[in-house]
């Protein structure tokens, strides 16, 4: 047989492991943007700068519900340095509202404001201080309206309607126009099952309003273009969703709004909705100059939706031997003034409301309300978090009533592969709920009274209250608590969820180099790292560049719902596979006659070479590509189809994939001052396949910490009389510091999901679910108190409420 001089001679098989491409999937490859981020050179959205740029500023309502009687901008316009002042009347197009699913959110308030902090006017000026001063000069006369702040006031017979004349696709089936969406889930016969119960427990649980509190403020730069369009550089979670909402209100075709992702300083769901995007574009188009908007922290608390606060009523029954008989639950989510993601949050809270447990007889009802509270929408864990808080408290109550160990009780009822969800959907991939619990429980407990030092009394830094030196150990008690949760991955309920990836493979300086171009928002989760790993694995190349994310390529969908590694990762994988086919086609054309394996064997790309599955090297990738046009493909990837839940019974295969995490919390409580110190938050999670263990562990620890935050300190406080936000600052809205955060040992399980790319499981959200109830369980265990509300404040522990 003729030999191709450019290949290793046939008959001398090369062990492919020697050609293994470094930095592929499964390796803890380092972030490609790491160096820029540690040197301060990475350009976040608030770092954008343009010659001659102006600063935009939003004027927001100071009241929660009011008619706007008049707006007087004359003084503001007259100020030197002010280039534009815009109100509702200046909106250029027919379309004046936007929204993720229901277009009910005004770009600028018209006629009415519906929540504290709603945008009313915009200013562009030459200095941010000029803009702020101009905003202060705008006179608005409000006629205040009664506020709707809870279920009672929202559903009262004479309740003011937050959105009069609703005609969205949910308005036809909701029992009251102040209900955004309602989803019942009904299965089996709860009345009959209740008869079999030996014990029944009930509980009313209250989940406070949490904020995503990403550190990088909402910000971006809009640059007017010569063609009458605009270029927008912005931090977001989903460029194409933004584009769909921005273009119509600007009155521009989508091609004239070109979006590029700028550096994103965290998101956690808070950037799924539009914030300053449209405002900056409006000001840029009006003034003809680049306009930068950067929210300060105060405005950031008004500039994005929060996690839905919830009231949850749960009833569970169980038999003496510890088997769950039934579940009845009602979950009321406060969606605030605009719909945002409320309908989907309702779908998740209801369909995941029974938790990762086998329970055949179920009646769950979830609703989201329209109120005059701040709008709520997406945040890590999305509806499943609130439910997990309640059902896990119930599990502990049941176990206590039966005199059983709380972990053992959960394990008896733990779902597994093959279990039916309350929606009737079969859990068709591994569901290692009992095993995750076993793992966190089996871990040795941290030593008791670690703050005691030999001879010198206490190291107060390790005690609740820390250096503020409030206790030396008197009255400090320890508790241990467990929790486990279930979360869906990806967009559910029949949503056409897809992602797009473009991959270019070519020879540069004698080496095969791949370029991956997607519109995926890298918000810190590490997508850029795994995309390069996937391309290296699939194409056998070392050099992979990641093209900046923009709208010049198809949609990647949202960086949310734990879906990006699955979806855009899946798209990169699929596109690379198609590129590989092209490579092999060219290879066959050029070299096929030299070796029979070209025609017969399964061929791989490894270490820059084409090899057979037996490890024999057929050609160098670079040689095949030399002299060819770059291979340039763009393909979409879809996960398996889902269906909407039935509106009456809630039945239907609504979810794509489930993901599970468990926690064990160890806390110490100073019972005198009501201070809590979390000592350890051990975590176990099934990730299907860890594409990058370093990132996986980082995601799990970060999610766990956000759950800890809501357990003991995080809450946006809204005045129940006026619906005004009381604590929009990092002084008053507390997020965990390094002193509040314990060690978080992580135990990762990898049980492949046969339906997912590489068998992976979306992972970012699950740890946020069970961390909160585990901490609550530990505090209850330490103190013997009921504690049905997040966050646990000192008053709740000292009885001084």
């Amino acid at each position: 047989m003729a030999q191709n001089t450019r290949t290793v001679p046939a008959g001398t098989p090369t062990n492919v492991t020697q050609n293994h491409t470094k930095g592929g999937i499964g390796e803890s490859t380092l972030r490609p943007d790491g160096t820029l981020k540690v040197t301060g050179e990475f350009a976040y959205s608030s770092d954008m700068w343009h010659e001659d740029m102006l600063w935009g500023q939003t004027l927001r309502s100071t009241v929660a519900h009011a008619e706007i009687v008049s707006i007087d901008i004359s003084e503001a316009v007259a100020m030197s340095g002010v280039y534009a002042v815009l109100t509702y009347d200046d909106l250029p197009a027919e379309v004046k509202n936007y929204g993720l699913e229901i277009q009910d959110t005004p770009v600028l308030a018209h006629g009415k404001v519906r929540h504290h902090g709603e945008p009313v006017a915009l200013i562009a000026a030459d200095h941010p201080e000029t803009a702020r001063r101009a905003a202060a000069k705008i006179r608005i006369e409000y006629k205040e309206l009664p506020v709707v702040t809870d279920e009672a006031s929202a559903l009262a017979p004479d309740a003011p309607l937050i959105h009069e004349g609703r005609d969205d696709h949910h308005s036809g089936h909701v029992p009251h126009p102040n209900i955004v969406h309602r989803q019942p889930i009904i299965r089996g016969n709860v009345a009959a099952a209740r008869e079999r119960a030996d014990v029944i427990v009930e509980g009313e649980y209250v989940f406070g309003m949490q904020d995503q509190a990403f550190l990088g403020p909402e910000s971006g730069l809009a640059v007017p273009a010569e063609d009458g369009g605009v270029d927008l550089y912005v931090a977001t979670q989903w460029l194409h969703s933004d584009l769909k909402q921005i273009a119509p209100v600007l009155g521009l075709p989508e091609e004239k709004v070109r979006m590029t992702l700028s550096g994103v300083g965290g998101a956690f769901g808070g950037r799924e909705d539009i914030s300053m995007q449209i405002h900056a574009c409006l000001l840029a188009l009006r003034t003809g100059k680049p306009v930068k908007i950067v929210y300060n922290r105060f405005e950031s608390f008004f500039g994005h939706v929060h996690r839905h606060p919830a009231k949850l009523h749960y009833e569970h029954g169980a038999t003496k031997d510890g088997k769950l008989t039934h579940l009845k639950a009602r979950i009321v989510l406060d969606g605030g003034a605009y719909a945002s993601a409320s309908p989907a949050v309702v779908g998740n809270a209801s369909s995941l409301g029974a938790g990762p447990y086998v329970v055949d007889d179920v009646e769950i009802e979830a609703v989201a309300l329209y109120t005059n509270n701040p709008p709520c929408g997406a945040m890590r864990g999305f509806g499943a978090v609130q439910a997990c808080f309640a059902y896990e408290a119930q599990m502990d109550k049941l176990a206590a009533k039966l005199g059983m160990d709380p972990v053992e009780f959960r394990q008896i009822n733990a779902m597994e592969q093959g279990t039916l969800m309350p929606t009737g959907q079969v859990v068709d991939s591994p569901a290692p709920v009992a095993e995750l619990l076993r793992r966190v429980k089996a871990r040795p407990l941290p030593p008791e009274r670690q703050w005691e030092t030999a001879g010198e009394g206490a190291d107060v830094r390790a005690l609740p209250g820390g250096l503020s030196n409030t206790t030396h150990g008197e009255g400090v008690v320890r508790g241990v608590g467990y929790a486990v949760g279930i979360k869906n991955v990806g967009f559910s309920e029949g949503f056409d969820d897809y992602s797009t990836a473009r991959v270019v493979l070519q020879v540069i300086n004698g080496e095969a180099v791949a370029m991956v171009h997607t519109a995926m928002a890298e918000v810190g989760q590490g997508g850029v790292t795994v995309h390069a790993q996937i391309a290296r694995t699939e194409l056998g190349v070392t050099q992979v560049t990641i093209h900046p994310a923009d709208t010049q390529v198809g949609s990647a969908g949202s960086t949310s719902a734990s879906r990006q590694t699955y979806m855009t990762g899946g798209a990169v994988k699929n596109t690379c596979e198609a590129v590989r086919e092209k490579v092999l086609e060219i290879g066959r054309r050029k070299n096929g006659s030299y070796h029979p394996a070209w025609a017969t064997a399964e061929l791989l790309l490894e270490g820059g070479k084409v090899v057979t599955d037996g490890g024999e090297v057929l050609a160098n990738l670079a040689d095949i590509l030399e002299g060819e046009e770059p291979i340039d493909l763009e393909l979409e990837f879809r996960h398996r189809a889902t269906v909407p839940f039935d509106l009456v019974t809630g039945q239907g295969d609504g979810h794509v994939q489930y993901t599970f995490a468990a926690h064990r919390a160890v806390v110490e409580v100073d019972t005198e001052l009501g201070l809590v110190k979390v000592i350890e938050l051990a975590t176990a999670q099934d990730v299907g396949k860890a594409l990058n263990m370093l990132s996986v562990v980082g995601q799990i620890q970060g999610g766990t910490t956000q759950g800890l935050g809501v357990a003991v300190m995080e809450e946006i406080i809204v005045d129940p009389k006026t619906a005004k936000v009381r604590n929009p600052s990092f002084t008053d809205y507390l997020i965990p510091t390094i002193l509040d955060t314990p060690t978080i040992p992580v135990d990762v399980l990898e049980l492949a999901d046969p339906n997912a790319p590489y068998g992976l499981r979306g992972l970012g959200e699950a740890p946020t679910l069970s961390s909160t109830p585990a901490v609550l369980a530990a505090i209850r265990n330490a103190t013997g108190l009921e504690l049905n509300k997040t966050p646990v404040r000192p008053e709740a522990l000292t009885g001084t409420l």
């Binding site: 770092d47 995503q212 990403f214 550190l215 990088g216 980082g698 620890q701 970060g702 390094i738």
Partner: protein, 199 residues
């Protein structure tokens, strides 16, 4: 007003500064040094931490006028600052800070793709704490990172082998929303260990 001060060893002059402008604003918007981050602008998050005459401060709380004639080190100058310190035997020698001659050589690294960082920054150009943050996975979104680096570097300057409690205390003024801090602790421990080995 006009403010004259030294940034990363280079004498700088800012004109037309408003009385109300913070050091953070002047660095970011007037000097073109956006490395110090603006997350709260009220001293709560530490993202804007810089060293002012060697002392870590929240630059959002420092009025621009207060830095007249003083020395500021930002994350952009951290690598050179740390190198200088290493070469001169640390702070005890009184050589803390960057000498003017050294600093004059400072320049921004060559242009890169800001989204991917693929184009080559020489890793040897990083300070030990910067490299440790990358290696330990302590960077996710990275918005907190510049402030944390300045604070952690100052800790390691004072204390070559800090305990976990020391690290937690030193970094307690810096919020991070992404990482859960565990890997940040790892990074500081790693940098301390590498420094220990190097001695």
């Amino acid at each position: 007003m006009r403010v004259n001060f030294t940034v990363n060893g280079r004498p700088q002059e800012a004109d037309d500064v408003w009385e109300g402008e913070s050091l953070l604003y002047v660095l970011r918007e007037r000097m073109g040094l956006p490395g110090s981050k603006n997350a709260c602008e009220q001293g709560e998050c530490g993202s804007c931490t810089v060293r002012l005459d060697g002392v870590p401060v929240c630059s959002c709380l420092v009025a621009a006028g207060q830095v007249e004639g003083r020395e500021v080190v930002t994350v952009e100058g951290l690598a050179d600052f740390a190198k200088e310190r290493a070469e001169h035997g640390g702070c005890a020698s009184g050589a803390c800070g960057t000498s003017l001659d050294e600093a004059k050589k400072w320049q921004a690294r060559p242009g890169q793709d800001s989204q991917t960082g693929e184009a080559g920054t020489d890793p040897a150009a990083l300070s030990p704490i910067q490299q440790a943050f990358i290696d330990a996975g302590a960077v996710q979104c990275g918005f907190c990172t510049p402030g944390l680096l300045i604070a952690a570097d100052e800790l390691l300057e004072r204390q070559s082998d800090p305990s976990d409690q020391d690290i937690r205390e030193a970094l307690s003024g810096n919020l991070c929303r992404c990482t859960g801090y565990e890997k940040i602790l790892d990074a500081v421990r790693l940098a301390a260990a590498r420094q220990g080995e190097a001695v």
